[in-house]
Symmetry: D2
Subunit: 432 residues, 4 copies
């Protein structure tokens, strides 16, 4: 790190050498250097509170000490780093711990697939397998869903801008209304069921439904337990597989390890990535009911299926889930967060906010344009917090799950100040 002459917050290297596709560096225009827990520092030493958590990849915070220790230890011993899908001690340990700590206590018995280390890879593997097992081609997905950016995953993603980027038509998928899409009085399952049972609906029987139990990128839309259970029952009735994309909502984000624990459904396939590696290291797994594990060897592959450094931290991360305590703490913090958001909504009625979300995936929806200004104002005050929704109309609060009450309070205070500032601007405009 001998670039000390660049320590100032000069982003010219990125402007000059990095592609125009770069995005978050435009919202948070500084150069980050160090981070621990819920705190980040840029090259000038300015601290930030992290209400973003790597878009859900840092549920356990930045550089958690126990994982760091294990990781450095493994490196020092020349533990093997890259193994494709050869067997390694690190992988074996992860598999055993994952079964002991996560699956067995939840009475689940999934086979674990390592599909390549990204969420979109896990989704692609799930769709391939669902199509193979059923011999069908159509996947049912939902309005405002986000599942990834490679062509297979993009076909089940709702966002028009992202879809257009494909450059080719996205097929073999049908988009159905998510819970609440038609307003709170309309049960969208009725609509879905009528399309499935009617032989004139123009829609083929799907191989699978892919669903997020809470849509994060889509604007923090929470599916109710009743809706998820109903969807699961429809799938059973029609012989459709149900895939839960838990890439962002898994690993405790909504309060339990799997996001679907709250409603008790058992998906046929589960996609996980982001925080599964524990330390922000690329890793993904696809969980498959044993009877559906009909892959031929090597039918899906990828160079980085065997990221052993991630297996080391992933294994350590499971320690959080050995007792109920971690989940309990999330619930408490989720309650505090919700209270604060409700209070903010009341306090700034001119912003017409609507609090949303569960667990530590919460936010406030505004009219278009407001959320981005709040995000900007927060960044200036030392808080990293992104927006979501197709029109970036929602501020998305997803701190590390390990944040302490003090950190949460500090971050919320910055948010409050930012809301005040944006409300002030708005009032100023209106009073003219």
């Amino acid at each position: 790190m001998n670039q000390s002459q660049l320590k100032s917050n000069d982003l010219s290297t990125f402007d000059q050498y990095e592609s125009e596709v770069r995005s978050y560096c435009r919202s948070f225009p500084t150069k980050f250097q160090r981070a621990t827990g819920y705190r980040m520092w840029d090259v000038e030493g300015k601290p930030y509170i992290d209400f973003f958590a790597g878009a859900g990849a840092l549920n356990y915070g930045h550089n958690p000490p126990e994982m760091k220790k294990k990781l450095i230890g493994y490196l020092m011993e020349d533990g093997i780093s890259h193994t494709l899908d050869m067997a390694s001690e690190a992988k074996e340990t992860f598999l055993n711990r994952f079964n002991d700590v996560i699956l067995k206590p939840n009475r689940l018995s999934y086979k674990v697939m390592f599909p390549g280390p990204t969420g979109t890879n896990s989704v692609e593997s799930a769709l391939k397998l669902a199509r193979k097992v059923t011999g069908r081609q159509t996947i049912m997905s939902f309005t405002n869903a986000f599942h990834g950016m490679t062509l297979g995953a993009l076909a089940v993603t709702g966002n028009k801008f992202k879809r257009k980027g494909a450059g080719v038509p996205l097929n073999h998928a049908v988009s159905m209304p998510y819970d609440g899409y038609m307003g709170s009085n309309t049960d969208t399952l009725e609509y879905i069921e009528s399309f499935l049972k009617d032989s004139g609906s123009g829609i083929s029987l799907p191989a699978a439904v892919i669903v997020e139990t809470l849509q994060g990128e889509g604007g923090i839309n929470v599916a109710s337990n009743e809706w998820l259970i109903g969807l699961s029952e429809i799938c059973k009735r029609f012989g459709i597989l149900i895939i839960v994309d838990d890439v962002q909502m898994g690993c405790g984000r909504t309060g339990s390890f799997f996001s679907f624990e709250r409603c008790g459904i058992i998906p046929d396939i589960v996609c996980m990535s982001k925080s599964i590696g524990g330390y922000g290291l690329p890793m993904a797994i696809t969980l498959i009911k044993p009877e559906l594990d009909q892959w031929s060897p090597g039918e899906h592959n990828g160079t980085f299926r065997g990221n052993n450094l991630a297996f080391i931290t992933a294994t350590e991360a499971l320690t959080y889930w050995e007792t109920e305590q971690f989940a309990e703490e999330i619930k408490v913090k989720a309650g505090l967060l919700r209270n604060a958001l409700d209070e903010f909504v009341s306090e700034f009625p001119e912003l017409k906010g609507e609090a949303r979300g569960i667990g530590l995936m919460q936010g406030i929806a505004f009219e278009p344009g407001i959320a981005e200004r709040i995000s900007k104002a927060s960044f200036e005050r030392g808080l990293i917090m992104e927006t979501s929704g197709t029109d970036s109309e929602v501020i998305k609060i997803m701190p590390p799950l390990t944040i302490d009450r003090d950190g949460l309070a500090k971050g919320l205070n910055i948010l409050k100040n930012s809301l005040q500032a944006v409300a002030g601007e708005k009032n100023a405009i209106l009073s003219h």
Copy 2:
């Protein structure tokens, strides 16, 4: 690592918990634990020589000391690990070094995109961009090509078994004969050109051609310089972009940093992954001619675009390329390897081998069935070496580029013994 009771080479955890899709662990049935340079050890301490190099992800060997030192140093300082596409000091350093050490000396001026940390992600980003920039949809690819396993990349991959795994038709691509596909007397470019120029050929003008300069997975097929230059000229003539997939052949595998340096063409887009991270850590980049960098911010994204640990080791890896020395050494070792292979082919005429390849991507093609037995016999003797080709008919020798002459000689000796054993079996059968 408290699983000492499992230290024996018992693979039951994998049988029980991992998906049937696992593959290499079937060819190399042991549990790996440690590795340095070209050597790997399993949990029982048995050493192996590595002629596989993580399928090209470990060109600099396992756990190279300088990178390891930098990596541990970064971890100890709580360097930020995961940043999506926010700006970080580690990324900035990589961008500057990559320009100074690689691009400028080669008089290249690409913009760097971080498309997500896998080769298939880089390919998907390249195809999207080519389609966006040209407004066309078809991509021309080649027989026996391998570009990845997500739907977009799979559509330009030749392998029937992999393609079938898609479960949906793979479209918007046209497969053309690679150099040598119709025998050494037929110039396949003539065929390609006639399809392009004829308005009745049934083929739309492609957005891009995607090509490997040497097909590794496809069976070690080397495209001649003339063919590559001719292809590049056809692309210019018809306004088609040329994408070089250097995921496996880049980072020195064929003797120079970019595999296309040998023929002097300048691709419009270059895909890199595998060894770009240096230490086997997931990382990928897509290099784009500045005038083609027409992405909108966030039009392609992904959670693990910002793997800062990989940026640290990737930056260090560039040190190998600061002088000509490393490339020179590869050439010398490539010569030794070719001599040995030629000798083996002569020595075991009953195996009807055909030496192939350039740089440290070489191999011997056999009749179906032979290569797999040689790979097996080698493993038993302590050598990791995979097969390639659609019928696994080629042994693929790709040691770390950093292997010393002694290591190379030892590995080749094992290979020779294995050839002898397989030849012996064959002779035994024939003499009956």
Copy 3:
């Protein structure tokens, strides 16, 4: 016709030589020979009343005398029969008459395309043009729609059995709920509009909507005027073309020449076939708003675009529309028909029928299984009447528009007797 030895109703020739795909000959198992007006005779001289009218291709009845006279006259003069899309006197006369009698009085100014002589050809041409003009690919169609059997038209057809026959996935289309699909209390336009305006809905902006104002094949579903007007307004608001498929509902079937006259919308493109030729001769036209007529010469073609014998009868058929009288008569007969159906529904409550339809496209919906038995019983009694709906649950009454009151009464009497017979069987079963 020297096959007098086959005059008996022996269908063995068809069993032996014709493909298994044949269908109506199974429902109406006799050999037809002659026909006039609403009457048909088989080879044994048995008469039938026709409540089927060639599935809408014989709105003017069988062999109407004036057309027959013109046709024979043209043949005797060696009028040219086949001209592709060369100019002919017969075509010129048709074009002028069609403008004078139909378009101008309705204040419409469409360009006329001859796309090949079948409805599916007209639909394919309409979809091509809509895609060309808008540069978009998706077509919005409706549940239970029927538009034809070639791949482009089949993609916008709802019926699962027909769609499966494609043997390939049917893409570039999205199926939306038709008026009434979600029950009478739900306005399906709200649903459609929410998908169009939401940038996260997963649906691209369509090139066009294709709609039948009354779905005949789909089970006699009548779209309300309000719904059709609302749909037209949505299309305008979003810049989507509206295509009315008037292949079966046009030429007076619902009471006016164009079926959309009742609601006053002006489609961008209109597809016509079936009765447009007047005499059951193959002919189709696609009507295009002049500003959308952006075809290049020959961009869509076909051998039988210029069926001059059909132009002769088509021209003569327009005579029916020179005054209001013909339309008035249809209305009167439609009223008589509806009264009869309502009466039948009341008289046989055990059949739980529901009268449907408008104009001379009416029917009664039953529980599955009933309609086919009624059709069979009617055939045995000398009435040709088919079923429709995806489960063949509706009897479909569509006599020639030229039928006189006496013919209508006779046919309805046979229908009544058939209903009685089927009701009797049902009661017999229930009383056991």
Copy 4:
């Protein structure tokens, strides 16, 4: 025909009311009125010799007297005109005669499907059935093929302009080089076979190959008997169905009823239309080997499957094939035609013509631009003759098969004069 005031050759009605898609009326700008045999007359009584024959729909000439008599007789007796796929006496007679006169003497036993009355309908039905029977999706087609304009048929058509008209990507088809496409020294079957047998070729095993034995629209390319036999053998070896599209080449155009009689192959499916109806009336049939006739009833349908007027003339047309005489006469005339073309090529060396074709489907290929001028010059002199090839570079001579030697000589004389005129213009330009 009371439009006597328009008897002059005023095309304003077409300009004003007909779509821009109209095409042949631009090449042959007059209004046709009457026609018999090989002669046509426009409204002003100007005669034309027909070397076009309705693009192959008028092999028996215009208004052949015996067919006309039968047709008028049927009309006068009120023979039923339109029957969908109900059984009719006229259809029965056709089926029996077609078996007796055509199939049995050729020792063929096809089931006959009536797919709708156009060639593209027949092709769509053939592709559907091939996909259903094999469970595969890809169809192999050939460079410069023409199979129709609906989406399924268009996907196997080579012409870029026509394909682009689809407005959506055309998939599930792979275009392979036709006989002679790579020059006379390259056997394109080798190329095709290597793609089929190689599991890395990027091409799925096709359901079927669709082939014309002579490509008319594609520029009069004749496949050799050896090539057709070789293709048929490849299909057998790989379990691929072979579909011969005999829409234009069937009904005697190349010298025998089926165009494939010359090489002795037996296609699995045959598509026929154009001249099968005899009188230029819309009709098509799909011939299916009995074991492949796996349709469900109604799985493919269409309103005009039962064009009984066409059955009447089609039956009569079979009379030509009751003896060998008709085929013999075609051969004689084909010889005369070839001699004349060879002579023209020699006589006008400055036009660099190349005679092509067999039977009464012959022509001369020129450099781009020449053929259209010859066609224009011929029209002015009273000869109707179109061009073909993707760049309209070939004059296409396809008179009615019934043309007498005198008519042929007269037409060829006009052609010679036209060649002379165009050669003269060219020489005049060159001599400047």
